[in-house]
């Protein structure tokens, strides 16, 4: 039972991790708390569902498509709407993204209705045994792909020019202009990439959870906690925190009862804020540049 709990927690943690990386990045680089992140995940799930239902293409294969769709959405929102707010109060971005969330959810309610949908492949709900522990195929695949995507994003940030521009803008957006980088373009790129990662998370989620326009709600709370837990703006932090969060929830549910999983997770979150407010791997100055 202990082994199964660890496996359950870790595998789910992988999904939470990739769901949080984009959110954490956007917050760290631009100070924008994207309340529509859950809705982005939902859109990604629907893209994969739609492709699966119409063409029979496996969601893992449609991840690039949902990432592309969400990139356009995230980039567009930042470029056309949020960039105008960057010069004013950043709290306005909370309000705007909250409104965006409402709009997206309701548009999807109109188009798709509230009917629950699900992706059923030939390997859904099948699992294999590794000693005393059962590992579901879908969860393992999601875990692997999610971590691979996070690693790829890390490489993108640290080894490509665009990625370096994003990191530089996060550190000091005034100086970066002197390097020939336009912060507003970088913000749009970051938002696009952050949304694309949410889209990927949505594609993965489509295989695990029933799909409905309000499915984003279950994510936004966890994503928030994981971001702060790992350190705002830190990808390694988000991944680590995602796994830790998954494990905490699994153990809390197993030892105390499923009712306690949220309570315990948030208690740990509060503890971290009190004892180590920059999160597990966050740096004190990162993401705090005004």
């Amino acid at each position: 039972m202990l082994g199964q709990t660890i496996v359950n927690g870790l595998l789910l943690g992988g999904l939470y991790a990739i769901a949080a990386v984009g959110f954490s990045m956007v917050w760290g680089v631009m100070g924008v708390i994207n309340m529509a992140h859950g809705a982005f995940i939902m859109v990604g799930a629907y893209v994969s569902y739609f492709v699966f239902a119409t063409f029979g293409i496996d969601p893992f294969l449609s991840v690039p498509l949902s990432m592309a769709v969400l990139f356009v959405l995230g980039y567009g929102v930042q470029r056309l709407l949020l960039n105008r707010l960057m010069r004013t109060s950043l709290l306005l971005s909370l309000v705007l993204t909250f409104g965006l969330d409402l709009v997206l959810v309701n548009i999807f309610l109109l188009i798709f209705s509230a009917d629950l949908r699900s992706v059923n492949t030939f390997y859904t709900s099948r699992s294999f045994a590794l000693g005393p522990v059962l590992i579901p195929y879908v969860r393992l695949a999601v875990f692997v792909f999610a971590l691979a995507l996070a690693a790829g994003f890390y490489v993108f940030l640290n080894r490509t020019k665009a990625g370096q521009a994003i990191l530089a803008t996060a550190l000091d957006k005034e100086t970066v202009r002197l390097m020939g980088v336009d912060p507003l373009k970088v913000y749009a790129l970051t938002a696009g990439v952050g949304a694309a990662l949410a889209g990927a998370a949505g594609s993965f989620a489509s295989m695990l959870f029933p799909i409905s326009p309000s499915m984003g709600i279950t994510f936004i709370g966890s994503v928030f906690v994981i971001t702060v837990l790992g350190g705002i703006g830190s990808i390694e932090g988000a991944v680590l925190a995602g796994l830790v969060y998954g494990l905490i929830q699994a153990f809390a549910a197993s030892l105390l009862g499923v009712n306690f999983q949220e309570i315990v997770a948030f208690l740990i979150f509060l503890l971290i804020l009190v004892l180590r407010p920059q999160g597990l791997l966050g740096k004190r100055f990162y993401g705090e540049v005004a």
Partner: protein
């Protein structure tokens, strides 16, 4: 320049005045306003929309037949509908708004006992008659409310038909697990099921409650696996039941039967689970094969056909219950020959009869003494009623899974 600045404002003012002047005088037509604060978003959006469409179906049928007749006046039914976002507090506020601002004469209740818990207190305070077929928690009817009625079977009986079926199965299962979300209606179901099960000699070896919107139930499935019960009963709603069945399959938990308190006849439940839905039992309030009839519908199939035509998809039991509520309300209003809630409430206790959904005879506590439930099982991809045997379309399969 000045003119140009004020032109749009002037245009706006003119349009508003024109709208007010041109608005039809509502007093000229007799209108029966019925308030509906219901889930059109949030966790219960599906069920809320089904229920709302049911209420609307009755309203349309009544209006097509000339309206509700009181004395020599014909009243056009008008539903005033607000979205409570599946939140009890919001629904309570909207109920108060419907009563005090929109001045509705009656109320059709929200989806789920948890939300009705909040709204019933409001309608009781203002003494406005509420009919809510989807608020079936027993404790709603032990408070002495006089203005709250439910035509459907109560919550604690939700899993009884499955327990009774399993009691007759051979070989009779010895152990049982009962799981569900921590919410009013599921808790009712779970407690009622446990009592009935123990009364009939089953041993309940595992129970668990999980948060209503929990995204992951692998821990619960792990717990069920260690307890290894013969059968599993789940008291939750569609969304978490789908998650639960998937989690059980992932962890290769193989009970001899899985019984849900929610309807397995709902198509998206079956398509969401695919082949994993085969053999699962659920409890139904209603199916198009029932043969009760009333003034608008000869039988349930006619209701199903007309609903399909009007709304573009087949009705679920929530819609049937909603429409039946309207038919019952109309019967009570016509008996009382009044639109006063107190008079109509008295009439509710005097009427008895049939709707295509159920027979009815109400008790002073607001419950329907003639309400019933039945078990459906998914056999070869289709839901078939299997218990009680007198309305069964097919024999039940036990063990349910190969």
């Amino acid at each position: 320049m000045l003119k140009a600045r004020f032109a749009p404002l002037a245009a706006l003012a003119m349009s508003v005045l024109a709208l007010i002047a041109g608005a039809p005088d509502a007093r000229a037509q007799n209108v029966l306003k019925i308030g509906v604060a219901i889930s059109q978003s949030g966790t219960f959006v599906r069920e809320g929309e089904f229920l709302r469409d049911g209420y609307q179906m009755w309203a349309d049928k009544a209006n097509a037949a000339g309206g509700v007749k009181v004395g020599d006046k014909n009243y056009k039914v008008e539903l005033v509908i607000y979205d409570d976002a599946s939140q009890a507090q919001t629904s309570a506020k909207l109920t108060e708004k419907l009563i005090t601002e929109d001045k509705v004469q009656f109320l059709f209740g929200p989806y789920s006992s948890g939300i009705a818990n909040a709204t019933a207190a409001i309608s009781e305070r203002y003494k406005i008659l509420t009919i809510d077929p989807m608020a079936t928690a027993n404790n709603l009817f032990t408070r002495g409310y006089k203005y709250f009625f439910c035509p459907a079977a109560l919550g604690n009986t939700g899993l009884w038909p499955v327990v009774l079926l399993l009691n007759q199965a051979t070989p009779k299962p010895a152990t049982m697990a009962i799981i569900g979300p921590d919410d009013l209606f599921p808790n009712n179901n779970a407690v009622g099921a446990k009592e009935k099960a123990e009364e009939l000699g089953f041993k309940v070896v595992y129970t668990a409650k999980y948060p209503k919107g929990a995204p992951d139930l692998s821990t619960v499935a792990t717990g069920v696996k260690s307890a290894a019960p013969d059968v599993v009963l789940a008291s939750g709603y569609s969304q978490d039941s789908i998650l639960l069945v998937k989690a059980l399959r992932e962890l290769q938990v193989a009970p001899k039967a899985i019984g849900l308190a929610t309807a397995v006849a709902v198509p998206d439940f079956r398509s969401a689970l695919g082949p994993a839905a085969e053999g699962i039992m659920g409890v139904d309030y209603w199916a198009p094969t029932l043969t009760y009839s009333d003034r608008y519908f000869q039988n349930s199939q006619q209701f199903a056909d007309e609903f399909q035509k009007r709304f573009g998809h087949a009705p679920q039991y929530h819609a049937a219950a909603g429409a039946a509520s309207g038919i019952i309300l109309q019967a009570a209003i016509e008996k009382a020959q009044s639109l006063d809630s107190t008079a109509v409430r008295e009439a509710m206790l005097q009427i008895s009869g049939q709707t295509f959904f159920t027979r009815y005879k109400f008790m002073p506590d607001g419950t329907n003494s003639l309400a019933t439930l039945f078990v459906s099982q998914i056999i070869d991809g289709q839901p078939k009623s299997v218990f009680p045997t007198d309305i069964a379309q097919a024999p039940y399969r036990y063990p349910a899974f190969k």
